[in-house]
Every structure is written in structure tokens, then in C-alpha cells.
Amino acid sequence: MILKGKVFKFGDDISTDLIAPGRYFHLRSNLPEMAKHVLEDADTTFASKVQKGDFVVGGENFGLGSSREHAPTIIKLAGVSAVLAKSFARIFYRNSINVGLPALICDTDKITAGDELEVDLEKGQIKDLTNGVTLTFAPLPKAMIRILNDGGLIDHIQKHGDLKID
């Protein structure tokens, strides 16, 4: 599968409080509404500007903090096709795969805000069409590849009736 879209660039340590702020806690059972506020405290304009297929690109330790699955869920609901970062916090990483949002580890220093990216999930390749750079992303653990390929954890369980990760 090839993903194509524009880059929204963020810095290091984008916490789950920045992605899904506590003051919108009451919207956790209204995720489309909550998605209107995604990443609001990191970039107040992001939610209104992001288009379907675009990428969220961070630095180190993306998603640090809470286990709230709402964080990757509302990023996905906002239309983002994948999150790229130099490193991810572990609960966010696993949650992202579980909700079917690819989380890709690569050298994001080479990617700039506004760049057009093309991501080939099978080949493990990222092409920055704006600056011509090609990057590879670190392969996911096998268990996660299975879950992601099935579309997320719930789809995986529905398909196999059990955890089938080896």
C-alpha cells in the first residue's frame, strides 16, 4: 500500500496531553468531536488544516505519557495516514498499531513541514517528493505487523478468534 500526503512537522516529546488534552476528556465518547481538537496545544491550526492522507511527523519520544488510546485514534480520525518519528513512547506505539495507524520509526530530521511524502508500507520506504530524499523505516516487530495488516487489534481478533501473533 502506498500512502501519499503532506507533512505536518512537530518537535520532540509530543505528549498525549498535547495530542488529546485533559480538558476534552468529556469528549472521549464523541471521538469525531474530540478529533477537532487533536494536537491543539502543539499547533492550534493543525486540526483545521489537515487533509485526509496527510502525515504527522515528530522527533524523539512521540506520544510520551498516557496510555489513552484516544490519542492515536483521533490522529487517525483527523485523516492522518501514518505517524513518523525518530522514536516513539511504547504505549503510544503499540496503541497506534492496535488502531490501524502505522507508526514508522525513521530519521525525521530529513523531512520538513509542508513536504510531499510517499510511503510504501510493504517496501519499508519513505520518499520525500519535495527534497528528493529516500528514507527507510525500522521494521515493526512481527507481532505488530500481523496486527497492522489485519487492520488493527479488534479486526485481528475478529478475523482469528484469538491472538495469532506468531
Partner: protein, 435 residues
């Protein structure tokens, strides 16, 4: 070849010897969810017709993050949770009963068990040598329905802590110091295993503070051996039969060993807006404080109230500083009442709230105003954490926090700790000037 505590517990559940790096599927003993994460989990199970619990007696759903509920949307989430519990036989810990990590530790968890929870501070359970880790709603939903989950066995960092804390220095200062040392991603995916005489001598309550914050260094678990102190704790809670002595082997393979001399630690403060932005108390002195918060799964226990009440004895709260106090559980609340702590705190000027997360998550009960500074005994100070991105959160021990309630600004709590009295004579401690 020895095994780490993480390898031992996961291996026992996997039915074979395991080593760091392996992926295994294991049965889960205890599951917890909270009111911010349970509704999503429930909807996920409903999606695939899997509304059931493999272990309903050991699956506990907590109403703690928004309790009592401040809005009808959250009240409706509470209804969803109670209905799911009714349908599946799971337990509900309702409004006012306390914070999930405190209550699960008090009433449900045992050494050597595996606990998963849809809350990142589930790692608190590691303080009784239970492999306890936080996950997302869907992971825990599946864990509840099927009674199992998958883990990558983590590598272990051995944290050796020796020596005695100076008066006025506590386990909170130790863990903040460690997180500042290795960074918020310094232990991502790792199990932190705490050993050494400082740990051996530490109360269960102080151990819980350490394990609770393992996630703030990115760790998967924060494990401490089970020993005599664990046994006494279980005895108090009627589960002494569940006690097992568990510790990691000295000759296990560790990815890293970090040694800390506890006697050289000073009170530590995390500055806005990350937990690893730690500084020694000297650099924090003089910061004006609008709100002080004593509570949470990190430091909302009787031992914390004890320390605070000793400091406020004979002292007055700064009139310009609010002091919010939330006992971590009903049991803590009752014990604090019987010891006179609640009366003492109220007379001091504290606002006491129902056991739960209180203002920690920014949902209710103490949201900060624009530009305000708060010092809190909680475990996280990200921008916007307490409900307002235009406010500033400092983290510290209960002693550091309450000293700020007296002074109206951050001060060194050691100045408030009574020195040893020579026989017959009272030694005066420095009284802060009231502003």
C-alpha cells in the same frame, strides 16, 4: 544463568524459561480499567460481540478520573461502565472509593501476578513484585475478554540504591532524580528493577511511589522484590496466604546497572513542562505558588499525610495559596480521619476532596487559571495536564509541596523538618516569613 524479576514472572506465566527480547502470549491475572479508558474498551468489545470477561472477579472497573462526575457526558460514561459490569460480572469501584492503582494494590493484586491496566500508571503494582503494565483500551479489552495478552519480554535496568535518605528527602525525590538522570525516554520498553538497602528499608507506600513513576522514564515495568514488608502489607489486607518471596537473581543479565547513593540526594523538583526537567531544590526556591496539590496514586497515602501533618503542626497556610488534598482511597481517608489528620489539614486550610484522581488529569477539582503555578505530588506535569495549557506544574514530594503551602513559594522542605531534640530542650526550626 540467573533471571531478572521480569523474566521470572513472565516465564512462570508462559510456562517456560524466557529471556529479554522474546515475544510471548501469557495469561493475565488481574485487569483494571478507569472511567477515561473503559468506555472505549467496552465499545470495542461490543463491535465484535465479545462482551465477556474471562476472570470477572479479578477485573475491576474504576470510576476515579472524573469522580464525582463533573459533566453529563462523563456521567453517561459511568452508566456504560456499570452496565458492562452488570452484564459480565466484572467489579465496579464506584465514585469515592479511590484511585485504581491504589485500590487494586490494596484489595486485589498479589506478588508474582500479571496485571494489565488501561492507565499508564498501572506499573504501580510492580512495588509488590507483580508484573504490572499500562496498555491502551483495546489491549486491555482483549485481555479482559480472553484472559491473555502478548508481551515482548523487556530488558532490565538494575537500579541499585544504597544509603539512608537525609531528613526531608523521600522516595519521590529518588525517582524524580532518576528520571531526570536518564530522561523521559531513557528506559523505553525496559523493566526497571530496584534493589539495594535503601529499597529494602523502604515502606510499601514509598516503594509504590517509585514503581508508579517508572512509566515517566518510558519503562514497561518498575519492579521491586517482595519481602517481609510485602508480607506485612498483605496480612493487613487479609491476603497473607498469597505472599510469595520473589526477587531477581544477582547473576541475571542486565542491560544497564545504575547506582545511586540515597544519602547524597536532595529534594528534587520537576519543572514545567516535562517530568525529566528536574532540578535540585536550590534552583526551585522562591517560585511563587498559587495551588498545592497533595494526592494521587503517586503520593496520596497515609505515609504522605503523616509527613505533611508533621510539617504543618503549629504553622499556618499562606493566605494566597490554595491547598487541595485528595486521599488516594477510602481506606486512606478513613485512617487519616482516625489519626486526626483530616481535622488538622482542614484547620490548616486544606480543601479535602473525595478519593480519586482529583485535579491531576485536568478534568475537575482544581483546574488552574492562566499563568498560575501549581506544585503537586502527582507524576506528570505536561503542558495542559491540569486542564489549562497556560499554567505551570511543578512536581515534588509531599514535604516539598506542603512547605510551599506554608511559604506561598517553593522552599527547601528540610528547613521544616524538626531536628533531633537534645534531652529536655526544644530545637527551633526556621519559621518562614509569612507573605
Amino acid at each position: 544463568m540467573g533471571k531478572t524479576l521480569a523474566e521470572k514472572i513472565i516465564g512462570k506465566h508462559a510456562g517456560k524459561d524466557v529471556s529479554a527480547g522474546e515475544i510471548v502470549v501469557v495469561p493475565v491475572d488481574v485487569c483494571l480499567m478507569q472511567d477515561g479508558t473503559a468506555p472505549l474498551a467496552i465499545r470495542q468489545l461490543q463491535k465484535i460481540n465479545l462482551e465477556k470477561a474471562a476472570n470477572p472477579k479479578r477485573t475491576v472497573l474504576f470510576l476515579d478520573h472524573a469522580a464525582p462526575s463533573p459533566r453529563k457526558e462523563l456521567s453517561n460514561d459511568h452508566i456504560t461502565i456499570r452496565e458492562f459490569a452488570e452484564k459480565t460480572g466484572c467489579q465496579v469501584s464506584d465514585v469515592g472509593m479511590g484511585i485504581c492503582h491504589q485500590v487494586i494494590f490494596e484489595q486485589h493484586l498479589n506478588p508474582g501476578e500479571i496485571l494489565i491496566g488501561s492507565d499508564s500508571h498501572t506499573c504501580t503494582g510492580g512495588a509488590m513484585a507483580a508484573f504490572s503494565t499500562g496498555m491502551g483500551s483495546t489491549d486491555v479489552a482483549i485481555g479482559i475478554a480472553l484472559g491473555k495478552t502478548w508481551f515482548r519480554v523487556p530488558e532490565t535496568f538494575r537500579i541499585e540504591v544504597t544509603g539512608e535518605f537525609q531528613p526531608g528527602v523521600y522516595s519521590k525525590d529518588l525517582i524524580l532524580y532518576l528520571i531526570g538522570l536518564i530522561g523521559a525516554d531513557g528506559a523505553t520498553y525496559k523493566s526497571l528493577e530496584f534493589v539495594g538497602d535503601t529499597i529494602d528499608n523502604m515502606s510499601i507506600s514509598s516503594r509504590m511511589t517509585i514503581s508508579n513513576m517508572a512509566i515517566e522514564a518510558g519503562a514497561k515495568a518498575g519492579l521491586i522484590q517482595s519481602d517481609k514488608k510485602t508480607k506485612e502489607f498483605l496480612q493487613k489486607w487479609g491476603r497473607v496466604g498469597k505472599y510469595r518471596e520473589l526477587k531477581g537473581d544477582e547473576d541475571a543479565t542486565f542491560e544497564k546497572v545504575i547506582k545511586i547513593d540515597a544519602s547524597r540526594l536532595s529534594p528534587t523538583v520537576s519543572f514545567p513542562h516535562t517530568v525529566d526537567n528536574t532540578k535540585s531544590i536550590d534552583e526551585a526556591k522562591g517560585i511563587k505558588i498559587d495551588q498545592v496539590f497533595l494526592g494521587t496514586c503517586t503520593n496520596g497515602r497515609l505515609e504522605d499525610f503523616d509527613i505533611v501533618c508533621q510539617i504543618i503542626k503549629g504553622r499556618k497556610k499562606n493566605p494566597k495559596t490554595r491547598f487541595i488534598v485528595v486521599p488516594a482511597s477510602k481506606s486512606v481517608f478513613l485512617e487519616a480521619m482516625s489519626k486526626g489528620y483530616i481535622k488538622q489539614l482542614v484547620e490548616f486550610g486544606a480543601a479535602i476532596l473525595a478519593p480519586g484522581c482529583g485535579p491531576c488529569v485536568g478534568v475537575h477539582e482544581g483546574i488552574l487559571g492562566d499563568g498560575e503555578n501549581c506544585i503537586s505530588t502527582q507524576n506528570r506535569n505536561f503542558k495542559g495536564r491540569m486542564g489549562n495549557p497556560d499554567a505551570f506544574i511543578y512536581l515534588g514530594s509531599p514535604a516539598t509541596a506542603v512547605a510551599a503551602a506554608v511559604a506561598g513559594e517553593i522552599v527547601d522542605p528540610r528547613e521544616f523538618i524538626a531536628k533531633k531534640k537534645p534531652r529536655g530542650k526544644k530545637v527551633k526550626t526556621t519559621k518562614r516569613k509569612r507573605k
